[in-house]
Amino acid sequence: MALLRALRYFVEEAFISLWRSRLIHAVSIGTIAVSLLVLGTFLTVASNLHAAVAEWSRKIQIVLYLEDGLEGRIRESLERRLAGDPAVAGVEHVTQEEALRRFRRLFPDLQRLPEDLGENPFPASLEVTVRADQDALANVDRLVVEYTQAPGVEQVQYDSLWIRRLNTAIQLVRWIGGFLGGILVIASVFTISNVIRLTAYTRQDELDIMRLVGATRAYVQGPFVVEGVIQGGLGGLAGVGLLWLAFRMLVGRALASSDLLGRAVVFLPIQLAAAIVIGGMVVGIVGSLVSLRRMPV
C-alpha cells in the first residue's frame, strides 16, 4: 500500500514535470527516438539478411556432374556413399533426359537448341542437398573436396561462396549498427541525464525542502527516475513507430513483392521491437541515475 502510494506520487510528479517543461522533453524524446530508429534500421537489415541466408543455406546444393556413359554400378556406389554421409540430407539422380526436360521447361524459347546441336548436351548429375545446420557451410567445403576427385565425377558445382560473402556482410552490418547504435545510445543517456539535471535544477529549492523534512533519497529521486523511464519509453515507441513508417513507405513498396532475397522483406520481429522500447526505458533509468548521483542527502 505504502509502495503503491509512493509509486503513484512518482508518476504524478513525473507527468507534471514532463508537462511543465514539455518542449525540452519533446526534444529529448526526439533525440532518443532518432537514436533508436538508427539502431532499429540496422537491426531490420541484419535480421532480414540473416533470415535470407538461413533460407538459402537450407537450399545449398552440391551438384556432382557425372562422366558420360558412367556405369550404373559406380553411380550407385557414389549415391550410397553420399546418402550415408551425416551431412547429406538427400541425393537425387538427374538423368541426361531429365536435365534436358528441365532445360526445356526453363527456357521454352530455346526448345529447338538441343536438336540443333544434334545430341543431348546435358550431363547426368547427382544433386546433393546438405543438411541445414550451423556446420552446413563447412560440410559443403568438405564434401566438395571429398568428391571432386571421386571416380565417375566429372565436375563439382556448388554455390556457397556468395552465402559466405553475405554472412560477412551481415557481420559488417551488425558491427556498424552496434557501433553507431552504441554511440547514439550513450548520447541518449547523456541527453536524458542532462534534461533531468536541468529539471532538477529548476526545482532545487523544492528538493531541498523535501530532504530537510525527512524524505528519503529514493522518495526525492523517484519522480526523476520515472520521468526518465517515460522519456526513454516514449522515445523507444516513437523510434519503432518511425521505423515502421519508413519500412512501409520505402521497403514495403520496393522490395516486399520482389524475390531479391528469396523471401519477402519483413519488419522487425515483435520481440526485437519490444526490446528497443524496453532499451529506451533502460536508457531513461540509467540517464536519470547518472544525473542524480551527486544529489546531497
Binding site: 506520487y9 523544492e206 531541498d208 525542502i209 530537510l212 525527512g214 533519497r217 542527502v297
Partner: protein, 218 residues
C-alpha cells in the same frame, strides 16, 4: 536530547561560524538560543538536524550521534525533529494544506489521514480558513505560521525554531509561544533561536547565548 561536545564549524578558511561549542539540552526542556545576527544560531540548528556536518566535535541528538550516522538514517533523524526554518521553506507550487500534509505524504500516510491531520495543524496556528491558499498569497507572518504547523504535525521529539516570531506582531508572538509551551508540556523538547530579548524575558526560560560562534552565557 541535544549534547554538543566541542563543536566547531568553519564554512570557509577565514572565519569560524561556531567554535568550541559545548551545550546540553535535556529531554523535555524549553530553551532559547540567542545572540546577535551572525552569532551562529542558525548554524547550530543546522548541525542538530544534520543539514551541515561540524568541522570538529560531536553532536548527539536523541541518543544518535549525528556526526556519524549513515546517509540512509538521516531522513529518520529529520522526521523525528520538527524544524521551523528562518526562511520558512514552503513549497510554492502547493497549497498550504498540501505543504503541511507533505511531511505525512513522504511517510506514505493515506491522503485522507494527511488532510485530516494537516487541517488540525493549520487550525492550531489559526490558518485553517486559508488552507487552499498558496504560500506566496500569504503574508510573511502567515507563512511563518504555516511553517510552524508543518514542524508540529508529526509530533516531533524535538522542535527547532529559527527566529519563529521574526515576522509576527506581539499578539501573534505570544500566541505562538503559548502553542510552543503546550507542545513542550506534551513532552517535546523545544529549542528556539531568537534575538527577541523582550520575549525571552517574558517567558523566563533557560537561555543559551552565542556571540561570534562561542557560548558566552548559559
Amino acid at each position: 536530547m541535544i549534547q554538543a561536545f566541542h563543536v566547531y564549524k568553519q564554512y570557509d578558511r577565514e572565519s569560524c561560524a561556531l567554535s568550541d561549542v559545548t551545550v546540553h539540552v535535556n529531554k523535555g526542556e524549553f530553551c532559547f538560543l540567542t545572540g546577535p545576527s551572525g552569532a551562529g544560531k542558525t548554524t547550530f540548528l543546522k548541525l542538530v538536524f544534520r543539514e551541515e556536518l561540524p568541522s570538529q566535535g560531536q553532536i548527539i541528538v536523541g541518543g544518535r550521534n549525528v556526526t556519524a550516522i549513515p546517509d540512509g538514517q538521516i531522513p529518520l533523524l529529520r522526521r523525528s525533529i520538527g524544524v521551523v526554518f528562518q526562511d520558512f521553506k514552503l513549497l510554492k507550487r502547493r497549497t498550504i494544506l498540501e505543504n503541511v500534509a507533505f511531511v505525512l505524504k513522504i511517510l506514505t500516510v493515506s491522503s485522507k489521514e494527511q488532510k485530516r491531520r494537516a487541517f488540525t495543524a493549520l487550525k492550531s496556528v489559526g490558518l485553517h480558513h486559508k488552507m487552499h491558499a498558496y504560500p506566496l498569497q500569504l503574508s510573511g507572518g502567515e507563512q511563518q505560521r504555516v511553517a510552524i504547523a508543518r514542524a508540529l504535525i508529526n509530533d516531533p521529539m524535538l522542535l527547532l525554531a529559527d527566529e519563529p516570531t521574526g515576522n509576527l506582531d506581539p499578539d501573534m508572538t505570544m500566541e505562538i509561544m503559548t502553542l510552543f509551551q503546550e507542545v513542550n508540556s506534551r513532552g517535546t523538547t523545544v529549542l528556539v533561536a531568537t534575538h527577541d530579548r523582550e520575549m525571552i524575558q517574558r517567558l523566563g526560560k533557560r537561555v543559551i547565548a552565542l556571540e561570534k560562534g562561542r557560548v558566552v552565557t548559559e
